[in-house]
């Protein structure tokens, strides 16, 4: 089964995208200076996956920090998922935030307001 993976660094998140099972995981920190360059391979893979997506796609986002440069790229990722969802395959985005992190919860709610995909806000312990 085809997979797209990137190991995390102090400035970029770990990405695990299992195109065979339709599970995408983004975890860690996303604070690169050049976010477009970093997210391009993921966006390209999502585009490819969108041509024949699984009946259900699950996306787990668990970010500790992300910068505003990443916020646009994350929206681009979500827009690709929205297109898949609108195409008839179900997509769920699980947005994780640490229990004291109101800013991260609010950031998830901002995306939820923009993107027409079911969001689940998942609180995790610190």
């Amino acid at each position: 089964m085809e997979k797209f993976t990137l190991d995390g660094t102090p400035k970029t998140p770990t990405i695990n995208f299992d195109l065979g099972s339709g599970v995408l995981e983004i975890k860690g920190r996303s604070i690169p200076e050049n976010s477009i360059e970093f997210y391009k391979p993921l966006v390209d893979n999502l585009e490819k996956y969108g041509l024949s997506p699984k009946p259900a796609t699950t996306v787990n986002v668990q970010l500790e920090y992300f910068n505003t440069s990443s916020s646009k790229c994350i929206l681009d990722v979500f827009k690709k998922l929205e297109a898949i969802h609108k195409g008839g395959s179900s997509v769920t985005i699980n947005w994780h935030y640490e229990e004291d992190d109101e800013d991260m919860l609010e950031a998830g709610e901002d995306y939820q307001a923009i993107i027409s995909v079911p969001f689940k806000m998942v609180q995790v312990a610190e």
């Binding site: 200076e33 477009i36 910068n67 505003t68 004291d100 800013d103 923009i114």
Partner: protein, 183 residues
């Protein structure tokens, strides 16, 4: 010229400056600075909430400097690729202070963007953020103006800034961001 080092030291001590830097802002430098500040905040045993807030604001302020290093009129050789920042902790608040040259022709544009951010309430900032995020043009350099809105949202404070005219080409832009603890 003889530098009065004690004068520097004394001023930094009185403002409780934890870290300061003047020079070219590179990606590697920012990685190191962020690591140093994280371990300092660990040593101070700051609450996770405080650490996150300060870290986020720091990332935005310093990357803002990084992205605007190119705008200094390097060709003149006079100003070079150089900026300054200081991080301090005073009276229960972290202060992130940045300074960089800006072309005079860009001053009024930046000033009106900062004034607009400062005129908005908490709810208006949230709407403005979503509007830029969803509709705004993403520049190769950054979030296309999202940074200042994000800083204002996360700190709940006005952005304090000054523009100091230097000569017919450039001004010096200073930004002072305060992150209040336990808000």
């Amino acid at each position: 010229m003889m530098l009065d080092l004690f004068d520097f030291y004394d001023k930094m001590e009185r403002n409780n400056i934890l870290l300061s830097f003047k020079g070219d802002i590179t990606s590697d430098l920012l990685t190191s600075i962020l690591q140093i500040m994280e371990s300092k905040m660990d040593n101070f045993q700051e609450e996770p909430k405080t650490k996150k807030k300060v870290y986020n604001v720091l990332v935005e302020c310093l990357q803002n400097l990084y992205h605007h290093m190119d705008e200094a009129p390097v060709d003149s050789g006079e100003y070079g690729r150089s900026a300054i920042f200081m991080i301090g902790k005073l009276d229960g608040a972290y202060n992130v202070i940045t300074g960089n040259y800006i072309l005079n022709e860009n001053v009024s544009g930046l000033k009106s963007r900062l004034d607009e951010v400062n005129s908005l309430s908490k709810d208006e900032l949230k709407e403005y953020y979503k509007q830029i995020l969803n509709n705004g043009e993403m520049s190769l350099k950054g979030g296309g103006g999202l940074g200042m809105v994000d800083i204002a949202r996360k700190t709940g404070q006005k952005l304090h800034y000054t523009f100091q005219p230097i000569d017919e080409k450039v001004s010096f832009f200073s930004l002072n961001i305060k992150v209040t603890l336990n808000q």
